[in-house]
């Protein structure tokens, strides 16, 4: 598989996916590039939306919906809420751009991307065949699976959520 790059047929769907992915990638860069946390958060929201769209291109409708509801709707709101609450809107921290740590971090990021990407991406450029049924992402499929095969994780996650609830109460309550 290591020969010349296989010819890829340019289709509209491909172009759309490339566009979505491009925006998502840009937004991701924005998250770490902006000094202001609010801007970062907004970039993250954009990124999450793009991801939701990409899930739809993968036929994972239920996941895509959940992505919008959970991440964009709940988690990011929470983030923004905290940022506002703590009055962190202004960039209170010194810019990191000139620190050696930033340089080393970026360098390592490049290496990480290079190491993994160089092995994974070229051979997979030619894989275009989807193996899953088209309705595999339907709520029905998810629901059936969740309550049969994944009943134990489903029970277990309830403990986790309970911890989340009790934990945040504990962290927030006034009585010390």
């Amino acid at each position: 598989m290591n020969g010349a790059l296989p010819a890829i047929e340019i289709t509209p769907s491909l172009l759309m996916v490339v566009a979505l992915a491009g925006i998502a990638a840009l937004a991701a860069v924005g998250v770490i590039a902006f000094n202001n946390p609010i801007r970062s958060a907004l970039c993250l929201v954009v990124n999450f939306f793009m991801l939701a769209a990409l899930y739809f291109t993968l036929n994972a409708e239920m996941i895509g919906v959940t992505q919008v509801v959970v991440y964009t709707g709940a988690i990011m709101v929470l983030f923004l809420f905290v940022i506002m609450l703590l009055n962190l809107g202004a960039p209170i921290v010194k810019p990191e751009a000139k620190e050696p740590q930033t340089l080393v971090g970026l360098l390592l990021g490049v290496v990480l991307f290079g190491v993994v990407g160089s092995q994974l991406l070229p051979p997979l450029l030619s894989v275009v065949k989807v193996g899953a049924a088209d309705n595999y992402g339907s709520p029905e499929a998810l629901g059936r699976t969740l309550f049969t095969q994944y009943m134990f994780p489903f029970e277990a996650v309830s403990i986790l959520l309970l911890i989340g609830v009790v934990g945040s109460i504990m962290l927030a309550k006034r009585r010390i």
Binding site: S13, P37, V70, G137, L142, Q149, G164
Partner: protein, 115 residues
Amino acid sequence: MNGVPIALYLGLGLFMFTIGVVGVVIRRNPIVIFMCIELMLNAVNLTFVTFARYQMSPVPAGGMARESSMMAGQMMVTFVMAVAAAEVAVGLGIMMAIFRLRQNIDVDELNILRG
């Protein structure tokens, strides 16, 4: 959607993951770091869904093996979202707590504990 190479999705996932990692390493605002972690999780989610969709791996023939396989990735994403929610609740709580104590959340200044 046919015709899109899996490498595109995986590449985006890897890129987002890397950006998230780099962000954790270079940013000093714990909220931003946390957001970068969320970015990593989303990259992972994308990867899961991609693999679930493309089903590259051979799976034992017969039975519901293939179906199990394509659902597994999505299940994982579902649970990751649940976990992320819990983590956010707790994580932001912790940050609030320390902010109340110090009025400052620059992670580089969190260094009483060292050595």
